[in-house]
């Protein structure tokens, strides 16, 4: 408890924060967070519309397994996480094509992946802090080569998403008509899973496997509460995700509290506010609808 009050008292030591911002590792962390915020913000509304929150969670756990494996064999954690997430996306895409099965497939794959990850960490003789950070994130450990990987992967995800955007939206909101109009919905599903998997793997670096939903799901869910325009929802979701990712890092610097605590708190705070605003919006439009029919 003392630790918390101690940390909070340092929350407003802006001088210390300013000093820390001068360090290259902090700047790298912010760059990584900005890239992640952009990618996850763009994908989040589609993730929510396609009801893939649980899939994101499952993918994140397998990204953790991949990262744990990479740590054990002394390979890049970032690449390991990416490999794990891509494998998860493919696995979930292959096994969970049917709607009524998807939920249970994710549950089965997720728990197994997590178990393997725990085993891999246990096998690791090193007693580094890295082990814990794979689960809850520690962005200050991001190296410049990690930033390059993150930036490259983020760019790739953004380009592919831009190209696929309209059919993806069509297939997500209106799958039957989209299929009738010739949208290859069966191909788009695994492709989107891959995009989400890549973004999730990036997120594992920043907020850790357990909390990746704070960036991949919550900003989209919040945005959808306050607007029904797909374009505006995407824009807001990016703003929310950036606020959570960058804001979380900035706030965590001086107190030295794990980044994820702030990222998730900001994200959840935005979500609560949006729910409140959304409720007022809906009751207002319901009132105007009854007024119109009366």
């Amino acid at each position: 408890m003392n630790r918390l009050t101690d940390a909070l008292s340092r929350l407003f030591e802006f001088e210390l924060t300013g000093e820390l911002l001068g360090y290259p590792f902090v700047q790298q962390a912010l760059l990584a967070a900005a890239a992640l915020g952009l990618v996850s913000g763009v994908l989040a509304p589609l993730v929510v519309t396609r009801r893939m929150s649980f899939a994101v969670h499952g993918t994140a756990e397998l990204a953790f397994t991949g990262a744990a494996a990479a740590l054990l064999i002394g390979f890049s954690v970032g690449v390991g996480a990416l490999a794990g997430a891509v494998l998860a996306a493919l696995l979930l895409g292959l096994l969970g094509q049917r709607d009524n099965e998807r939920d249970s497939v994710i549950g089965a794959v997720l728990s197994f992946g997590l178990g393997v990850g725990v085993l891999l960490l246990w096998m690791n003789p090193e007693r580094t802090a890295n082990k814990f950070t794979l689960l809850v994130g520690q962005i200050v450990g991001v190296s410049s080569s990690d930033v390059t990987l993150l930036g490259g992967a983020a760019l790739l995800v953004l380009v592919v998403t831009t190209v696929l955007y309209r059919p993806l939206l069509f297939a997500s909101v209106d799958p039957h008509v989209a299929a009738a109009r010739g949208v290859p919905t069966r191909v788009l599903t695994p492709v989107f899973s891959l995009l989400v998997g890549t973004a999730t793997a990036l997120g594992v670096h920043v907020v850790g496997a357990l909390l990746v939903m704070a960036l991949m799901v919550t900003p989209g869910a919040a945005a959808i509460r306050v607007t029904s325009s797909p374009a505006r929802a995407t824009l807001l979701s990016v703003v929310f995700a950036e606020a959570a990712a960058i804001g979380g890092i900035l706030l965590s610097l001086a107190p030295g509290v794990p980044v994820s605590a702030f990222v998730t708190a900001i994200s959840f705070g935005i979500y609560l506010v949006c729910r409140l605003v959304g409720r007022m919006r809906i009751s207002r439009s319901a009132r105007s609808a009854t007024a119109a029919t009366a």
Binding site: H176, V177, A180, G182, P230
Partner: protein, 291 residues
Amino acid sequence: MRYDPPTTETEPAVEAGDENTSAPDTPAVRLRDAQLSYGTRSLWHGLDLDVNPGEFLAVLGPNGSGKTSLLRVLLGLTDLTGGSVRIAGEPAHRGNDKIGYIPQQRSLQDSLALRGNDLVGLGLDGHRWGTGLRGRRLRAERVRRALRSVNAEDYGKKPVGLLSGGEQQRLRIAQALVADPRVLLCDEPLLSLDPSHQHRVSGLIARQARRTEAAVLFVTHEINPVLPVVDRVLYLVNGQFRIGTPDEVMNSETLSELYGTEVEVARVGGRLVVAGAEGEQHHHVPEGGQE
């Protein structure tokens, strides 16, 4: 000061008419000796059918008789196992801009981040790659026109999830019409609507199809809501079929022949009551008829 012609309302009809006169003899849909089978089971074969621009064809038959499969063939999603199919003179293919599609009414998610405008706009270019930021103004104009044609201008800015089933179905019609299709394919669009909405939705589809000279293939298991607007009927049963006006097909003799059992058709107050065929389905489902 500019003077716009006051008759913008009729513009789409004129345009569509122009497009049509370029090939006046081309039927909107042409099937020749068409055959569709899954494995050893033949759904139908020897199907010759021309549907002309502006014509309203009701497609009837029990579950599993291949009504929806026929739509899939026209949409280019399923290949015929024999014969040929042409849409407005061209072979059927996936992503055909000449076809508008109206699905069964299924309520859209309440929380969907989508407005009426967006839903209709997806019918215009949702199958194209990219973000669609270019050409937004033209798109908005076409969407507005489509919404106006179904009297749904007010729904443009409303979240679709907050609209009622009948209102959503009107948006569906606008979505199908927005690309100025030559053919409108309707797959049980009246299902789960109440009778007054059934009447309004089917009337709206028929009116808009006539106005734009689009051919309508209307799959339904209930002919009565569309009876006033139907030109011809295609009735499919167990690989057999009959094509003709409602009077030619919907009579005791023809349907008894089709079903191979005693079927009684009676007219009661302008409605057709069919006994011994479809009406009995609730009691004993015909073979392969669970869908």
